[in-house]
């Protein structure tokens, strides 16, 4: 029991991150489908991925991005590995954007998430075009616009959850930017 408590305290932040990841994945695949508007649901897996890049060190956020990518590949229908690779790229991009821009916190996070959502959908469309299954432009634009519109407000809630659970002021192990 002592050993369990020791390791829990030592890896508390990573454990919380993993639990948030599981929670976001399960919500995305089950409950969120009942809250679709014009058949579009918010992408909280992507929002969680971007939050990982803000609150965790590069190594941790890359590991979590790999896990999110694997979950997305397992539950989706695209060739396996596509989401795994691009999720890693989005984490790197999110960290670069946040490091280079030095204006207000929340605005930067929202802009970063918006850019990631747009790029994710565009990359997916390019990939579908390459494998000869293109997405009509009207549908793509609708998905991009509505997905970002629904995801951004939820991302503020996810940000609050991260702040509450991880409490970066008291946890020096978190590499907060």
């Amino acid at each position: 029991m002592m050993i369990v408590r020791y390791y829990f305290r030592k890896y508390r932040i990573q454990i919380y991150g993993f639990l948030i990841l599981l929670f976001a994945t399960s919500l995305q695949c089950t409950l969120l489908n009942y809250f679709r508007i014009i058949n579009i649901k918010p992408d909280i897996m992507l929002a969680t991925l971007v939050m990982f890049s803000f609150f965790y060190s590069l190594r941790c956020s890359l590991i979590f991005s790999l896990l999110i990518g694997i979950f997305r590949d397992v539950l989706g229908f695209l060739p396996f590995g596509f989401n795994t690779i691009i999720c890693v790229l989005w984490v790197i991009l999110a960290r670069e954007i946040f490091q280079r821009l030095s204006i207000e916190d929340k605005l930067i996070r929202c802009i970063t998430l918006f850019i990631i959502i747009v790029l994710n959908n565009l990359t997916l469309n390019c990939f579908m075009f390459i494998i000869n299954k293109p997405i009509p432009t009207g549908i793509l634009l609708k998905v991009i616009f509505l997905e970002s519109l629904f995801t951004l407000p939820l991302s503020l809630m996810i940000y609050k959850i991260f702040i509450f659970l991880l409490n970066p002021v008291k946890s020096p192990s978190i590499n907060r930017l």
Partner: protein, 257 residues
């Protein structure tokens, strides 16, 4: 430190590339992953259904009253159609027609959905152990849902007909006009390749034609709600599916004979 960053990025990308390579040579890697998520997904979906029951209480109450009225109407129609069926059976016997075989079905629960907004996939809790194979048609009591695209031991993935990459060979029940139905990632479907002047009307019933071999013939798809002209005089029809494809909970899988 850039040097340290590079040393972390490159191994991560190598690992990700190895996963991609492994998946190319081991086609069942994804199916095995989903099988291991089978129980957690089922549990989550059961919790989800309970929450939905509480949240949608009033909606369910109104729906229940409406359905009770419909049941009594359908019962009356059933009695009338039973008479027609019996007469048909007698006539077929007289003419020595071969009877159409009824396809075997198995019921399955929907335990998950695709996380992406650019595809329409559902995950059901039946797989190879229950006799399901790739390209099995999936239906509900109200109509066509889609076809199985990936099969694991305990779970399967179904491509719903409102996915962009889905194509269903269909025909208008009244005029027997053939066309191809594809999805739009929303509630409606579109029936393409209708020739100029095709005999299609609003409220026409659309069923599967059985031409592609993927879906049995005669399964209800939906009703025509709009008719438009495409380029060069070709027409297309907007179809409202008979099944609510966005709120699937239980489906029936047509097993191979």
């Amino acid at each position: 430190m850039p040097g340290r960053k590079k040393s972390l990025i490159i191994p991560s990308l190598i690992v990700a590339a190895l996963i991609l390579l492994a998946a190319a040579f081991i086609p069942y890697i994804r199916a095995s992953f989903i099988d291991s998520l089978h129980l957690p997904l089922e549990l989550l979906f059961a919790i989800n259904r309970e929450i939905q029951g509480i949240v949608l209480y009033h909606y369910n109450l109104v729906q229940n009253q409406r359905l009770e009225r419909e049941i009594s109407l359908v019962k009356r129609q059933l009695y009338e159609s039973t008479e027609v069926y019996l007469e048909n059976a007698r006539l077929r016997e007289l003419l020595d027609f071969k009877e159409k075989s009824i396809y075997p079905l198995t019921a399955a629960n929907v335990i998950g959905y695709d996380p992406s907004n650019l595809s329409s996939i559902i995950i059901i809790n039946k797989g190879k152990e229950q006799g399901i194979k790739r390209d099995c048609a999936v239906i509900t009591n109200s109509g066509l849902v889609g076809r199985v695209v990936e099969v694991g031991r305990l779970t399967s993935k179904v491509l719903v007909i409102n996915d962009i990459n889905s194509g269903v060979a269909a025909l208008i029940q009244r005029s027997r006009q053939k066309g191809l139905i594809s999805g739009t990632l929303s509630r409606g479907l579109v029936m393409h390749y209708l020739p100029p002047g095709a005999d299609v009307r609003i409220s026409d019933t659309v069923i599967t034609s059985g031409l592609s071999g993927l879906y049995p013939k005669g399964i209800l798809i939906g009703k025509v709600i709009k008719i438009r002209e495409e380029n060069y005089g070709e027409m297309f029809a907007v179809i409202e599916p008979s099944t609510d494809l966005t709120r699937l909970e239980e489906v029936l899988v047509v097993l191979p004979k």
